[in-house]
């Protein structure tokens, strides 16, 4: 080998722990996550930032589940076409989910990854929890 690479340099930082932000059911079964700042993250990021992220997510989910004109229209159209419309077109909820996925990716890149954190899209957990992975803050060069 021409050069040796330290494992540390090559690997992604190890996962130190995971924080799960649970759903907030106080307003019913609508999709809403708790905005309370978990204590494990206190040393890793700002509370404001986290709360802002969660609030935005909550807003996006609220938008997805909103009973409005768009959802009516979609329902009627689906009925009329014997639901074959679902084969061609994605639903309103799915569209918003895509938006959410993009937002989470964005947040991860801009805010969480630089702090050694990673947000997991809650859809992967059935919209039950928001999983935040905390990576070990291992300084490059510091021996393990």
């Amino acid at each position: 080998m021409a050069e040796t690479h330290s494992l540390q340099d090559l690997q992604q930082p190890a996962v130190s722990s995971k924080v799960f932000v649970q759903r907030d059911y106080s307003s019913g079964t609508i999709c809403k996550f708790q905005t309370k700042f978990p204590s494990e993250l206190e040393s890793r990021m700002d509370k404001q930032q986290f709360e802002e992220t969660m609030q935005t997510l909550n807003n996006l989910y609220a938008e997805a589940e909103k009973l409005g004109g768009k959802s009516y229209l979609e329902g009627c159209l689906a009925c009329l076409t014997a639901y074959t419309i679902f084969l061609c077109m994605e639903t309103h909820y799915e569209k918003v989910l895509k938006k959410i996925a993009k937002y989470i990716k964005d947040q991860n890149e801009k805010i969480y990854a630089p702090r050694g954190l990673l947000l997991t899209d809650p859809i992967e957990r059935g919209l039950r929890v928001v999983e935040i992975t905390i990576f070990e803050d291992r300084n490059i060069g510091s021996g393990r």
Partner: protein
């Protein structure tokens, strides 16, 4: 063939669905073949068309109900349940719209089932909004496919009715040919329809009721809400709308898709801990003393500086007086500290005396901890935030330290002391006072504050809006003092007038009030002293005057929203109370309430402006909403906050008024030893409020100087009904004479935007 690895192929489970499908499709096909041609000929072609459409609808819904994912939850990852699996309780309670709902731990899926979720043993999955497992469609009915199931039932009922009716028509027209093929078939079809008519219609009716009530079959059958309230209902119309029109829920069991790869590499950014550090400093009383000592000189310098300004001279006097007073009582240290605080931190916006501008944010923290207590920052973030507000620039250093004391003492006092005001805000006051209370003997009212450390939040709220007018975090103690004084003074005044013991302790200046109360003479004296400043007030009011005179230098703009809000509330309450109490009184105290940021002479302005109370009182508003709340609140809050926010205290210290306050000792010292450093503020407050604080009185005359300087004082007290001076926390001091109640009150707008009326 096996459905999946590990699952045995059970043909039996497909029997119902096969039967149902066969019957449905078969019967309808027969109907179309044998009955419809005649119907089309005889009645109308619309008949088969209609039937066709209905049948299509039935099929579509049937298919959706059968093949659609009902809302299956994927199994939880191991990471998620590792804590829960072994020591988790079986149930977890969650409150939904005020009703306790139990979430059960699912051993199969490894998570606590969300509300309305249930595990289907047939499908071996947890399903969201589980309704039931329908064998006729061989699928669970859950959130995603309930609508289709319901529509299937409805459309099937309609279809069955249609088929039966048209079949009947056909048969009735072919009575003579009953043996014929078509007729026979039609009759068979009619029989099938008739047979299944009852169960299907029954089920349809049942589900119609469920939809109207917003319940699932599972809930209905298990009697979950029998006799109780259903937290999931949205009203009949809302429920129907939800079932029929809500957007299609997403699938949770997704194909494993590629996660966007996010590169995570150390080193990682860490949040700024400076604020926390600062907080610690603040809470450490020991530092106060240090600061004080070192600053004593500077304070003097500050004083000098102040004197140069027109408003200063009076303040200086007051300050000296305060100092003196402080010395007499425990306040010695405080005085010094105040002085130091006053002069130590040079804050650009504040006059020499108010160099130290505690950040309001820090105040809350400070407040809650008694002097010498380390502020743990229970609120963590919150406190940091608060600290950040004001402390950033200056407060890392000593001034902050002072604040805690100061803030604690006066603020607490203020909150609590003023019976009118503080009592209304038990939380805030509690937090504040208790902490401070340690240091100073709580007098009666002051006791109100329970030693809650964490009251900071409430506290903050109180202070923020009103006390901190200085964004830089300079809390003008004056403002704190003043507001507190105002209510306190108001009370005192009242006490003076008629009550031997001042029950009223301005929250802001609990100590002061105490002192004041304790010695009527002092009060008298103070009153005297203030009188020049606020002549119209009437001497009787002295304490209020005192309070008024010294607009608490606390600036509210540094306070966090919560604090501001609470301050506002408090002020409002105090205002109201004050109004009631002081309705007839001179409004002097009220003036004090407005806490504005007065950079410099808060002493006199405190007196003056507060006295003007009426002017400002009503305008809590100039400052942030919280501030605008009620002057009283501000006063109380401000004072309390003031104490907490070292910066504010510092300011207070700077004001001449402060000095007296500290000297007033009784009040301040009571507050807390911590206040001693911050003490300046409390002392100021005390001086302001209590007539005993002579320094105040001199300050009174200096009111003009106040006006010039930014005094943030909490005009929490709404002592009087008068609208009170508008303390604009935002700190601009515009001197404008506002006709005070007493007539000689001059309205000055402090730096923090607080307008206070100074009686000239």
């Amino acid at each position: 063939m096996p459905n999946s690895a590990g699952k045995r192929f059970k043909p039996t489970k497909y029997i119902p669905v096969s039967t149902a499908a066969t019957l449905l499709v078969g019967s309808t096909t027969l109907f179309f073949v044998f009955t419809c041609p005649w119907l089309m000929k005889v009645i109308s072609p619309a008949v088969p068309l209609y039937n066709g459409l209905v049948f299509l609808f039935v099929l579509a819904n049937f298919s959706m109900a059968t093949f659609m994912d009902p809302g299956i939850y994927p199994r939880a990852d191991e990471d998620e349940d590792k804590d829960d699996d072994f020591r988790a309780p079986l149930y977890k309670n969650v409150e939904i719209k005020g009703i306790q709902v139990r979430m059960k731990w699912c051993a199969t899926c490894h998570f606590y089932r969300p509300p309305r979720c249930s595990h289907c043993s047939v499908c071996d999955n947890c399903v969201e909004d589980f309704d039931h497992h329908c064998p006729w469609v061989n699928n669970c009915i859950g959130r995603r496919n309930y609508r289709y199931f319901f529509l299937f039932l409805l459309s099937l009922s309609v279809h069955m009715v249609g088929v039966f009716s048209f079949g009947l028509i056909f048969v009735l027209h072919h009575r003579e040919k009953l043996g014929g093929l078509h007729t026979t078939v039609t009759m068979v079809v009619m029989c099938i329809a008739g047979l299944f008519f009852i169960p299907v219609m029954g089920l349809t009716g049942f589900h119609m009721v469920l939809v109207a009530r917003g319940r699932t079959t599972n809930e209905q059958v298990t009697g979950k809400f029998r006799g109780g309230v259903n937290p999931f209902t949205k009203g009949c119309c809302g429920n129907v709308e939800y079932v029929l029109c809500s957007p299609l829920a997403p699938r949770y069991v997704l194909d494993p898709r590629k996660r966007p790869h996010v590169k995570i590499q150390p080193p990682f950014i860490r949040p700024d801990l400076s604020d926390q550090q600062i907080t610690i400093k603040v809470s450490d009383n020991g530092m106060h003393s240090t600061i004080t000592n070192s600053k004593s000189k500077s304070s003097i310098d500050g004083l000098d500086g102040k004197e140069t300004q027109p408003p200063l001279p009076p303040k200086a006097d007051r300050y000296n007086q305060l100092k003196g007073q402080l010395t007499s009582s425990e306040g010695t240290t405080c005085t010094k500290r105040q002085q130091s605080s006053l002069s130590g931190k040079t804050h650009p916006s504040t006059p020499a005396m108010y160099r130290f501008k505690p950040s309001f944010g820090t105040m809350p923290k400070v407040h809650y901890h008694t002097a010498g207590e380390k502020i743990v920052m229970p609120d963590g973030r919150k406190n940091s935030a608060i600290l950040e507000e004001g402390v950033r620039s200056d407060y890392r250093s000593e001034p902050n330290l002072d604040l805690p004391e100061y803030a604690n003492a006066p603020l607490h006092r203020t909150f609590q002391s003023s019976p009118h005001q503080l009592d209304a805000d038990p939380t805030n006051s509690r937090t504040l006072s208790l902490k401070q209370g340690h240091h100073r003997p709580e007098k009666g009212q002051l006791q109100v504050l329970p030693p809650q450390t964490v009251a900071s939040t409430a506290y903050k709220g109180v202070f923020s809006p009103n006390t901190l007018s200085n964004r830089n975090g300079s809390l003008s103690y004056d403002s704190l003092l003043n507001p507190s004084i105002s209510p306190a003074s108001a009370n005192e005044c009242m006490a003076h007038r008629g009550m031997p013991s001042m029950g009223f302790h301005s929250p802001y200046l609990p100590t002061k009030m105490c002192h004041i109360r304790e010695s009527e003479i002092h009060r008298q004296q103070v009153a005297q002293t203030y009188s020049p400043v606020m002549p119209p007030r009437g001497l009787g009011r002295q304490s209020p005057h005192l309070r008024d005179r010294e607009p608490s230098p606390v600036r509210y703009d540094n306070l966090s929203q919560t604090i501001m809000a609470s301050i506002q509330e408090r002020k409002e309450k105090e205002e109201r109370e004050k109004r009631q109490m002081l309705h007839g009184r001179s409004q002097t105290h009220i003036y004090v309430q407005d806490s504005g940021v007065f950079d410099a002479g808060y002493g006199p302005p405190a007196n003056a402006s507060f006295l003007d109370g009426p002017r400002g009182h009503g305008s809590r508003g100039p400052t942030p909403p919280a501030y605008g709340g009620s002057r009283d609140n501000l006063m109380g809050v401000g004072l309390a906050n003031y104490g907490q926010r070292t910066p504010v205290l510092r300011h207070a210290g700077t004001t001449l008024g402060r000095a007296p306050r500290t000297s007033s000792t009784s009040l301040h010292t009571d507050h807390s030893s911590s206040n001693s450093s911050q003490g300046r503020a409390p002392s100021h407050e005390g001086s302001y409020r209590s007539p005993t604080h002579k320094p105040r009185s001199p300050a009174m005359p200096r009111s003009p100087s106040y006006s010039h300087q930014k005094l943030s004082y909490i005009s929490a007290h709404d002592r009087t009904d008068s609208p009170r001076e508008t303390m604009k926390v935002n700190g601009q001091m515009d001197c404008h004479l506002s006709p005070s109640r007493h007539g000689n009150v001059k309205k000055v707008t402090g730096v923090g935007g607080t307008t206070y009326e100074i009686s000239v």
